[in-house]
Symmetry: C2
Subunit: 180 residues, 2 copies
């Protein structure tokens, strides 16, 4: 196997923000040359694929400033310092949708943009929902929706669903359905 590691020679902090930090790293490449890597630091996130007793998927419509548009996503949110992903998933689900659960199944974790960011997202599944208390963050405006799998697939096709975690979650349900 080739040696592929890039050693950090120097780190310059460009920005320390509310959600992300930006570092510029000078690295030594495997061939001994040097290069620079732009690295966005993120606390990590969770998302929940939640299915109601009526077999509908719980989604949230949300304006995403980086995209300058609304998209529809599974409920998700950032990890607080020292918060376990599972507790974070339960908290975010209830805050954004008003649904509470005590039973989450871990599906998968993945990095979202390994080329420039360290954000990892942990994805959970639940079909055990109770009614709790909706309470979004003060700068967070969301609208909850409940749709069938067929409706969700249509939302993928017409680009209302347009993000990685939600695309993965919808495909997960399609696979589950196909394997029945």
């Amino acid at each position: 196997m080739k040696q592929l590691e890039e050693k950090t020679l120097d780190t310059k902090v460009i920005y320390n923000g509310k959600i992300i930090d930006l570092h510029l790293e000078k690295v030594e490449l495997p061939d001994g040359n040097t290069s620079q890597r732009e690295v966005v630091k993120h606390p990590g996130a969770v998302a929940v694929l939640a299915v109601t007793p009526e077999n509908k998927i719980v989604l949230v419509r949300q304006y995403r400033k980086p995209l300058n548009r609304e998209i529809i996503e599974i409920p998700a949110g950032k990890l607080e310092p020292n918060e376990s992903p599972e507790l974070c998933a339960m908290r975010e689900l209830e805050e954004e949708t008003g649904y509470r659960t005590e039973k989450l199944e871990f599906l998968q974790s993945f990095y979202t943009s390994p080329g420039f960011a360290d954000e990892i997202i942990h994805i959970y599944y639940t079909d055990q929902l109770e009614v709790g208390n909706e309470q979004p963050d003060e700068d967070e405006f969301v609208e909850t929706m409940e749709v069938t799998l067929d409706e969700a697939i249509e939302m993928v096709q017409n680009q209302q669903i347009y993000d990685a975690k939600t695309a993965f979650a919808i495909q997960f349900l399609q696979l589950k359905e196909a394997q029945k």
Copy 2:
């Protein structure tokens, strides 16, 4: 439907980089209050799920500085200015793996991190491969691998495959298999 739009009141450019830029946007929230959004600007990317005549998936092992580790991904790369996603996908596939194709099927596009970045990735599929010329970028060190679907699923489980586009691609093949 609730009004969810966030209007930009002011944009401050924090950083203009080689791959990403960082903007800090002051926004007016739907309730009239103001907040700040950190926005990473990215040129967009493509990825290719390529399957060989032996029914193996073409993957690349690569050191990802933001993660400080190697992960295994489907071939991918950034869009050049004014480059069409399809031509970019053909170019990146050949540069990184040495495989050439003239027939790509578009699978799906999605934003990778809509909370803080505008990166969109366009994912293509091909099982029509010819041998071309491997030629990675000068600061890019990759190793090509070819694995079966079962091996790829194992790599997901042991976190060698650990990024969104590749997780999506593997699940796509599982779904295709299940629907046969």
